[in-house]
Assembly symmetry: C2
Homo-oligomer: 103 residues x 2
DNA sequence: ATCACCGGTAAGGAATTTCTTACCTATTAT
DNA sequence: ATAATAGGTAAGAAATTCCTTACCGGTGAT
């Protein structure tokens, strides 16, 4: 049982691309799979990972299943990277100061 | 050659913990490995992943190697999650409005 | 009723990850 | 010079990932 971890879920470029598509609105699995050079079951399996991480929710509509984005778990990622913001800001500041000294 | 991907590098809880430690300042491998119930080579291998992702830099000092954080690649992660901020904010707003209607 | 479509699950294989122990070099200490 | 310390790399095992094909149950169309 490899826990539904959001960091793990977004580690895959395919899954990030799926989320990016879903940011444009809910989609059927068929539509989601279309742009990928991958079998449809493979996409289904990626969707399962996203579902278990809480990043997507499915809604049955007729014989289709519409997946919609649930971005809330991404807050954990944003919060974590946020702790590092000061480091790259400091880096940028030092670089700017260095250039000013020279120029 | 499994490209040095930052999303992949931070997918591991161990590697995130290593970065968290390094946020407190540069450390030798010995010190970095101490808190983990893992062999030292295992930590070395995690450090390699972080190094290839550009998240840490090593500096030789005597017979030690000091690793220091380089947070810059994390900007890519922060930027990516940033695109989703409006979604979880919208979610929070809708929830708030719902509660106000009821209360 | 039958057929087509949507999409999930199962089984299996190749590749990757993540650990271990063993070993090696470089540097410092005695 | 010899011994101890720091830490990278190699080889191999176990677990996991990520794809494939085959198959299945629902739902809608004819």
């Amino acid at each position: 049982m490899p826990g539904p971890d959001v960091f793990d879920a977004i580690a895959s470029p395919v899954r990030r691309a799926l989320l990016d598509v879903l940011a444009g609105g809910a989609r059927s699995v068929h539509d989601l799979a279309a742009p990928f050079e991958m079998s449809r079951p493979a996409v289904s399996q990626h969707l399962r990972v996203l579902r278990e991480a809480g990043l997507v929710a499915e809604e049955r509509v007729g014989r289709e299943r519409h997946y919609r984005l649930d971005a809330r778990p991404l807050r954990a990622v944003a919060d974590w990277t946020g702790h590092y913001e000061r480091f790259w800001l400091r880096h940028a500041r030092l670089l700017r100061e260095l250039l000013e000294e020279e120029g």
